[in-house]
Point group: C2
Chain length 139, copies 2
Amino acid sequence: MKLSIKTDYACRAIAWMAQHYDEDQTVHVQALAAAQGIPENYLVQILTVLRSAGFVKSKRGKDGGYCLTRPPGKICFGDVVRAVQGHVLDIPSLGDPNCPEGMKEVWRKIKHSAEQIADSVTFEDLVSASEQGGGMFYI
Amino acid sequence: MKLSIKTDYACRAIAWMAQHYDEDQTVHVQALAAAQGIPENYLVQILTVLRSAGFVKSKRGKDGGYCLTRPPGKICFGDVVRAVQGHVLDIPSLGDPNCPEGMKEVWRKIKHSAEQIADSVTFEDLVSASEQGGGMFYI
DNA sequence: ACGAATCTTTAGTAAATCACTCAGGATGGT
DNA sequence: ACCATCCTGAGTGATTTACTAAAGATTCGT
């Protein structure tokens, strides 16, 4: 079970826009790509996904760019991850009748726990964590 | 983040051998494959991994087969998953200096939680759960 | 209206991974 | 010797990943 870099990029993109949310400016793809170390052409595709999922809106033309559609406190990790890769954790055998019920319960428990953590952290939490420069969980 | 069917097969194989552990018999690949709905030739490869990881031992020749090297209570989910796929959750961006620290902490927390659950369940737990025919967690 | 800067969309692609399949060899009991 | 079983390594079609590229649409300043 491996986190795809695409999902990570998506979260980084949202995180960056969350940090610049109060300035009420659009962010250029190029700037975002450079700031987060993401290949520009790849980021474009990711932003398209994030736009159709409703997290960001875009403006074309000169002085165009991207910005969040709602405050960072209203977007959680889980939402973004699900928009990019469907599930936080995808456990195909949960739908397999050959898989013993006891095992399914273990997978389900792991899946549920991952989802709960991802859903409990918003991008506002990330912004405040980075402003304090310190841990947001193990204070 | 998707669970590979290979890992699932590996756990099913161990689970099946755990259920037949007290009989102190070897299990044939063919029987195991049929019982758990796993392609036989694929299962062979998985058992090889499990053997070199020390979970099972094999016997060749007529009346050969596989059995666990230790009681099911001494083998946990996490062990088997790590033997097959390296990590319970693999988060490559934890090693990426471009990934913001706050995000790493979220991934780390999810990873840690998944590992802890996987490490807290043994295959003996699975056997007793299936004997009772009921839930092992949400009693 | 023009041109530059930006986003939009679609297509392509090399590499890796997944989930097998197969063939031939080694081993051990009878 | 024979046969049932495990052992090993090679091969493979399909899918996914992580990009790259190119041609088009939109907006703004002038």
